[in-house]
Symmetry: C2
Subunit: 347 residues, 2 copies
DNA sequence: CGCTGATTTGGAAGCGCTTCCAATCGGATG
DNA sequence: CATCCGATTGGAAGCGCTTCCAAATCAGCG
């Protein structure tokens, strides 16, 4: 059907040089005269030649594939905004640096997830892996990856010190800052819908909030915590219980935006006015937080930027000089985005 | 660092057979005795052997990579729920059939998008491509793909007849049905926030709505249409103008959920009660439609299922018997999901 | 028991590329 | 002008796999 694609030999023939020389100019190798370079470039152009990556990798050339591993909590409710932001951020850099990004989304349940991820990595013979929560907390995984010689970057790991580079933000400080924000507006009774306990970075957010309340001299039952799982549904289902008591919280903090949107939904449904009757705040600043009414006050986390950094770390590690450098730990600043879901307590 | 990965020759040596035989059992080839099969399987197991896909493809083996090409309208607001649903649907089937799915998201702007997609396809030497809107409407693209021998499936194309298989739903009928739904509840004045004109399937939805109104005997100015671009922002910005007139619509239909969520946001902001003051309905039934308050009445489109079908078509075309069959056009049923954003008109 | 044809197995070529190593070239040097 | 060294270039091996083709094996049959 289609004409056979031109190979490196076609280029060599047309430009009248050896195959090895063509390979050199293709890879920006040293020791090639400008004349040769020009001749080859011309032939490449004329033929519309494109290297066959399969062949290149087989022959031991530098692999430039990077895997982005994302978790989907449930089949039907992927953490999609978070994931898209990651993807966009990584994509932007990969385009610049000539690395190819491949995203894999897997359900985080099931005992063999580690095996499957490793399989994916082996299969693709990729040179780098970006791990997102909660995979970024699986130290066995990142160790195995590093051992396989894949440059590994973990996004928002709970423990930045273990194997592989890390990019994240100071989650404890973010939790603290958000609580202060609420405290400053006069709130004294709080609810908190936590995420999954395995997500260490989310737990740190909670810890920060608790610290802020402690320092403000509030006692333990000023903070009512329930365990959710980051989903919209969790917010919907858990909010009522949180505010059912005799002396309910005037502000509830959610581990992430999706949960907050769920809480907001439940509040609306139950006839509460947000923020008059109840303030709601959360973390991440994913697009959904600006989509709902009232738009959410949330801690902005530079997700795209994190992914960009991750890509950049991999690119640097795989390109010349920086290769072999010890893994980096980068911390990006967060900020509180004030929208309309937080007000002064009415009671 | 890591021990070299075992190759097919290692397996051959350990099991005491020829490399060719190993290859045969690996590929479920014919003409292999059960004894051999067992011996090889054992060696594979013992060595933890995994075929090197690069090498396999190079050697001319069947390629099993499928590309899912998605559009991101703008950098910051990817159509993420839609895309995730597609991905999940395709993923499910690819896992079953042994094909590998690779998703690529590209900004749809820029004149060279076609070239970039083609480049991606050439590069990956993939065997199949799933095109999502608006790429599914680019006939030049699908023709080029088909010519390249890639099994091409278009999701929701405006014209199912052109090159490549097609999976979608009857968008015109969906538009008609949704309008009937509104008509039945007593609405007589309508607004419609359209999507981008290039998305043919979305245009058909509009056409269906118009037909329903025509058939109901309403005249042309019973339908006020404005052009949006599928985004939340479009909904926010376009709604006010739509309902500003002396005799405003009592119901507005949006080309997709994101836009409807935006319209809902604007309505809230401007102090309107939905659905008492204004009904809002849309298309797609992406998760976000159930997240907002009030949850949206929307036309459910089986997005996951569409992607699954697309994958299945590719798998069938690339596996034995069905190979070479003429492209299929599959139409999936839609349904109206009644939630709370539609009521009877108050005026 | 020898022969034919079908089935199973092994050998070897080659996919398109990188890279090592040897050959060549071009001055600068004595 | 002969010599030598570094910069270029070409030749060839080989990455791990599939597949064509020939060799070997096995039944079945006269």
């Amino acid at each position: 059907m289609t004409a056979r694609k031109p190979t490196i030999d076609d280029v060599a023939r047309l430009s009248g040089v050896a195959r090895a020389t063509v390979s050199r100019v293709l890879n920006d190798g040293p020791n090639v005269s400008d004349r040769m370079r020009a001749r080859v470039a011309e032939a490449v152009e004329a033929l519309g030649y494109q290297v066959n990556l399969q062949a290149r990798f087989l022959a031991g050339g530098a692999n430039r594939t990077v895997l982005l591993i994302c978790a989907s909590d449930t089949e039907n409710e992927p953490n999609s905004y978070y994931q898209s932001a990651l993807e966009i951020g990584a994509l932007r850099v990969s385009a610049q640096t000539g690395f190819e990004l491949v995203t894999h989304t897997l359900a985080q349940g099931g005992g063999d997830v580690v095996r499957r991820i490793l399989h994916l990595v082996d299969d693709s013979r990729c040179c780098g892996v970006i791990l997102t929560p909660p995979f970024s907390d699986w130290t066995d995984l990142s160790s195995a990856l590093v051992e396989r010689d894949a440059t590994t970057v973990r996004i928002s790991p709970g423990d930045p010190a273990s194997a592989g580079a890390a990019v994240g933000m100071d989650d404890e400080a973010a939790g603290y800052a958000l609580a202060r924000h609420l405290l400053d507006r006069g709130h004294r009774r709080f609810g908190f819908i936590q995420g999954l306990a395995e997500h260490l970075s989310a737990e740190q957010r909670f810890r920060g909030t608790r610290r802020a309340l402690d320092e403000a001299g509030l006692d333990a039952d000023a903070l009512l915590a329930v365990r959710g799982n980051f989903t919209f549904r969790a917010g919907v289902e858990l909010l009522p219980g949180l505010i059912a008591g005799a002396n309910p919280p005037t502000a509830v903090v959610c581990a992430n935006d999706d949960t907050a949107v769920g809480a907001l939904f439940a509040a609306h449904r139950d006839g509460l006015d947000v923020p008059r009757d109840l303030s709601i705040a959360s973390f991440d600043d994913t697009p959904v937080s600006a989509l709902v009414w009232p738009p959410l006050t949330t801690v902005h986390q530079p997700i795209q930027e994190m992914a960009s950094r991750a890509m950049r770390i991999i690119a640097a590690a795989r390109t010349g000089k920086a290769a072999g450098t010890l893994p980096a730990h980068e911390y990006l600043p967060f900020s509180i985005v004030e929208r309309h879901s937080v007000g002064a307590p009415s009671r």
